[in-house]
Subunit: 223 residues, 2 copies
């Protein structure tokens, strides 16, 4: 194994990986065998040296004046992201957002397989959503252990998030994709990636409100 | 109007606004009339001076030794975010993610009202999703103008995203919440806020893969 792979990769580089992967898969489907770093950079509107650095993180080395072998590069990126083996995940919180994510099959492209959801509401338990079971929350530790699930997707309300996170940690979950609009306290060994829809919407709508206010102000002044 | 509101607020401050809003609404529901900056900071695990600065951006001023009037502060934050009037939005792309968001009613809390969706697939057009209409994409400009819709939520595949964004701009949409996993080129007057699920998942799963690799390495070494 390349020792570089054990070092922590910069977040912006990691966030670009799905972009490379999608482009390379397009090339592959068109029968292309080899691609240069320059070509990738040009097509994706990125800087050459950045692309080279990003791809080096996956442990792959391009051949000078030839480039990268396309299938090998795809495999290297998928391995780097852990997307070569489909990862099973549980959803905690089968409310509106949890159910929405249960019905989103785009995650499969990224090797993520949502097995089931958990909830405390007896009205939700036992009623499958998009063909996936909803279990009572107390069954989480047992099922996570038996099915070796390591990824938890947290879609509970803010006030229930920390308790749910504690239960995920107790259940052996190693990575929490947090859609609850609040920060979580977890042991260092547990990875948290926040996906805060309300914060993103706040940025969008505050900027829009500001723009419309400014325009209204200008209008009034010129009238 | 406070002239500060016309200046651009820092993104981290804006992203904290929903957190304040949620907390203040809890206080209000418990009948609390006044709250100090120190109390807010303590309860939310933030720094006092930061909270004061954030809240000042909304144009509200706390009274020394008394604090903020809770209902007034709620109104000020909602006004700042443009969440006091419900904003209508259209979804472009009624695929799996678009349909998931159409079914998510949590957006209402943030004053966002998804009116309808648009798609190019004749199989999807005319079949309501969660009680909301799906129209043919070519009807977007006319309906956006007639209904004064200013927010577009983009949930099309990467390869269709730029064309869809161009149509949104032509239709008078002023703010695009972009769930497509790709950057968009739009005129300066149009706001784009990116919500890249695949990039976020890449960060989560690459860190998990790295952790598991490291642990396996350590295990092998000690065996």
């Amino acid at each position: 194994m390349n020792p570089d792979m054990l070092r922590s990769a910069p977040v912006p580089s990691v966030r670009r990986m799905p972009l490379y992967l999608r482009f390379l898969k397009q090339l592959k489907s068109r029968g292309r065998q080899v691609v240069s770093c320059t070509h990738i950079a040009h097509e994706l509107g990125l800087v050459n040296t950045q692309v080279r650095k990003d791809l080096a993180m996956t442990g792959i080395v391009g051949r000078p004046k030839v480039g990268y072998d396309v299938p090998a590069l795809i495999a290297a990126i998928e391995g780097f992201l852990g997307w070569n083996n489909t990862s099973d995940a549980f959803i905690v919180g089968a409310g509106s957002l949890g159910r929405a994510l249960m019905g989103y099959d785009g995650f499969r492209e990224y090797g993520l397989n949502i097995l089931a959801a958990f909830d405390i509401d007896p009205e939700r338990v036992g009623r499958p959503v998009h063909g996936k079971e909803v279990f009572a929350l107390e069954r989480l530790p047992d099922l996570a252990e038996r099915l070796h699930v390591r990824i938890g997707i947290l879609t509970v309300p803010a006030k229930a998030a920390q308790d749910a996170a504690n239960l995920l940690v107790l259940s052996g979950i190693r990575a929490i994709w947090n859609y609850a609009p609040i920060g979580l306290e977890v042991p260092e060994s547990v990875i948290v990636e926040n996906m805060n829809l309300s914060a993103s919407l706040a940025v969008l709508s505050s900027r829009l409100a500001q723009t419309l206010r400014t325009e209204m102000g200008l209008k009034t002044e010129t009238e």
